[in-house]
């Protein structure tokens, strides 16, 4: 880890709020942008990042001698997905029963969506994988490490997400 950053982390460990704010300055914006890509809502994204930093402040003891970026991203991803689930519980149940019933939400050809609306169709876990891989430019392995799932799971989420995005934007036909 960069020694300068290491010293900031040490001050943070000692309860220095200014050091904590330095970390917030360094990582806050990118985390907020990533959360917004997952949650699709600016206010929810702010709530998720607020919780992220509050948890980070409380759990600094669990940060080992490592760059805090991936650690903070992991907390932010968990908070975002968890918040999304809480706010969309009813929708989630509907989707689950829909799947159990064997029906599948088909997008009519006349409702081809743009990418922004197409991303809304993904699950938050898929969006997290997409955001880390395609927005933060992390490798599949790095993405897997951050969200703590097997590499194959990340590959599967990305593959499913891409297929779904192509489907609802009509790109699948164009690229078929």
């Amino acid at each position: 880890m960069d020694p300068t950053l290491g010293r900031v982390i040490e001050r943070w460990r000692a309860g220095d709020r200014e050091a904590f704010e330095e970390v917030m300055d360094r990582y806050g914006l990118q985390l907020l942008r990533t959360a917004r890509l997952i949650l699709r809502d600016p206010s929810l994204a702010e709530d998720a990042i607020q919780e992220t930093f509050l948890k980070a402040w409380q759990r600094i003891g669990s940060l080992r001698d490592e760059d805090p970026g991936p650690w903070l991203t992991r907390i932010a991803m968990n908070e975002s997905i968890s918040l999304y689930r809480r706010r969309h519980r009813f929708q989630t149940l509907t989707e689950r029963f829909g799947r159990l019933g064997g029906t599948r939400h088909e997008v009519p050809s006349e409702e081809r969506l743009d990418l922004a609306r197409a991303l809304d169709q993904l699950t938050p876990e898929q969006r997290a994988a997409v955001a880390l891989h395609y927005y933060q430019d992390l490798s599949v392995e790095e993405t897997a490490r951050i969200i703590r799932v097997p590499v194959d799971t990340v590959k599967s989420r990305l593959k499913t997400a891409l297929r779904r995005l192509r489907e609802v934007t009509g790109a699948g036909e164009a690229f078929a």
Binding site: M1, D2, T4, F20, E21, G28, E142, L162
Partner: protein
């Protein structure tokens, strides 16, 4: 074909992310409030109960022995005296911020004072209603822009500090221009009082590190500016070599971080990075070209010194160790590497001081490079046009 869709997706995500242009102040305030020590709030009921019991006890004692009143009032006077200065904080050579949002604070006075014997000048901003949210920004000149009108104002000095208070009003008696002409602090002038944002500029004799102390009873914000040569108060990450007195036509070297340029929203493209030795310094040149249809300008930049040659890549967070024992981190906002850039992204020129220059990130129009140095050195930056260039001269022994 699949790559095209992924490329389109990647571009879309970046574009969508750019809609969030900054980390909101209100969010920062919420987080700051959330990490406030809870012990005081948690024991508030107990403190109230204890206070009530003490008052009852004092009343009983006073009834029996009236002299107790003078003892108690002496104690209360001591209790409500202005808070003593906290443990000295380090002087920091960077922008700072603090305070609390959501207050209805009023700036009531500005008091400059010289503490030259202790190595600093101080200006105190007095408030009613608590110290509001504030931002302190350092700048390399004493020229400021007035809020709302946009007029330029030049204060005494060659460097400056801009202090912005939010959710603050201004009492009528507060001076709009003070000229203490101290060693460091030369002039303090009001730059704006508009929609509860009060702004002051502070003209400094030279660029110096700053310490900010929020104090209570009464509420006030003390800004201490180190005086020239006060080694005990500077906060350089490592001991830096002293400046050579031999100035050049290109300007003097200074042992502080540098910044400049402007981010006008249109990303400039980095076309060339050159490194070479000149008598007395090693020179790093970043050359830019505008995108088709846009005008040339030097992107906003910061050149930050650091006490090691270890860097972190942006945005992956991967550590990078360059050659040398010290470093510079150069960050451009509103810039990216040109698609036609063919130069090396990791140069190892092995000059007297500059040992390595490597790209650290190119993400969201934020372009980062690092330079590994054989020793901590002072700098000079030059902004040149035709073509647009940032020149960083690193002083050599």
């Amino acid at each position: 074909m699949s790559d095209d869709f992924e490329k389109k997706l990647r571009e879309h995500l970046h574009s969508e992310a750019q809609e969030t242009r900054e980390f909101p102040r209100r969010l920062r305030g919420r987080i700051r409030d959330g990490i406030a020590p809870r012990t005081r709030a948690g024991i508030a009921p107990q403190l109230a109960l204890a206070g009530a019991l003490v008052l009852v006890a004092v009343a009983v004692l006073a009834f029996r022995n009236p002299t107790i009143i003078s003892v108690v009032t002496t104690g209360i006077k001591q209790f409500v005296q202005p808070s003593p200065s906290p443990t000295p904080q380090p002087f920091l050579c960077r922008d700072q911020s603090g305070g609390s949002g959501g207050l209805t604070a009023t700036l009531t006075n500005i008091r400059p004072g010289s503490h030259a014997g202790d190595g600093y000048d101080r200006v105190v901003f007095d408030f009613n209603g608590g110290v509001p949210s504030w931002d302190l920004t350092r700048q390399e000149s004493a020229i400021f822009t007035r809020d709302a009108s946009g007029q330029q104002v030049t204060l005494d000095g060659s460097a400056g500090l801009k202090v912005v208070f939010r959710d603050a009003a201004l009492a009528g008696a507060v001076p709009t221009d003070v000229t203490p002409r101290f060693s460091s602090i030369r002039e303090i002038a009001q730059l704006g009082n508009f929609e509860r944002v009060v702004t002051y500029g502070i003209g400094l004799s030279s660029s110096q590190c700053v310490r900010v102390l929020p104090l209570s009873n009464p509420s006030r914000l003390a800004i201490d500016v180190a005086t020239s040569g006060s080694a005990s108060t500077t906060a350089a990450p490592t001991p830096l070599p002293t400046l050579s007195p031999s100035g050049t036509d290109l300007g003097a070297f200074s042992c502080v971080d540098h910044s400049g340029g402007a981010d006008n929203g249109l990303a400039m493209q980095l076309t060339v990075v050159r490194v070479a030795h000149q008598p007395g310094f090693d020179r790093i040149v970043f050359e830019f070209a505008p995108q088709p249809g846009s005008t040339a300008h030097l992107p906003a930049y910061t050149v930050s010194r650091q006490a090691s040659a270890q860097f972190v890549k942006d945005p992956s967070g991967q550590p990078v160790t360059m050659r040398g024992s010290s470093g510079l981190r150069i960050v451009f906002h509103g810039a990216s590497v040109s698609p036609t850039y063919t130069g090396s992204r990791d140069q190892t020129p092995s000059l007297p001081v500059v040992q390595e220059v490597e790209q650290l990130g190119d993400f969201e129009a934020v372009l980062s490079w690092g330079a590994g140095l054989s020793r901590a050195s002072c700098l000079r930056t030059l902004e040149l046009a035709n073509p647009t260039r940032l020149v960083i001269d690193v002083q050599t022994p």
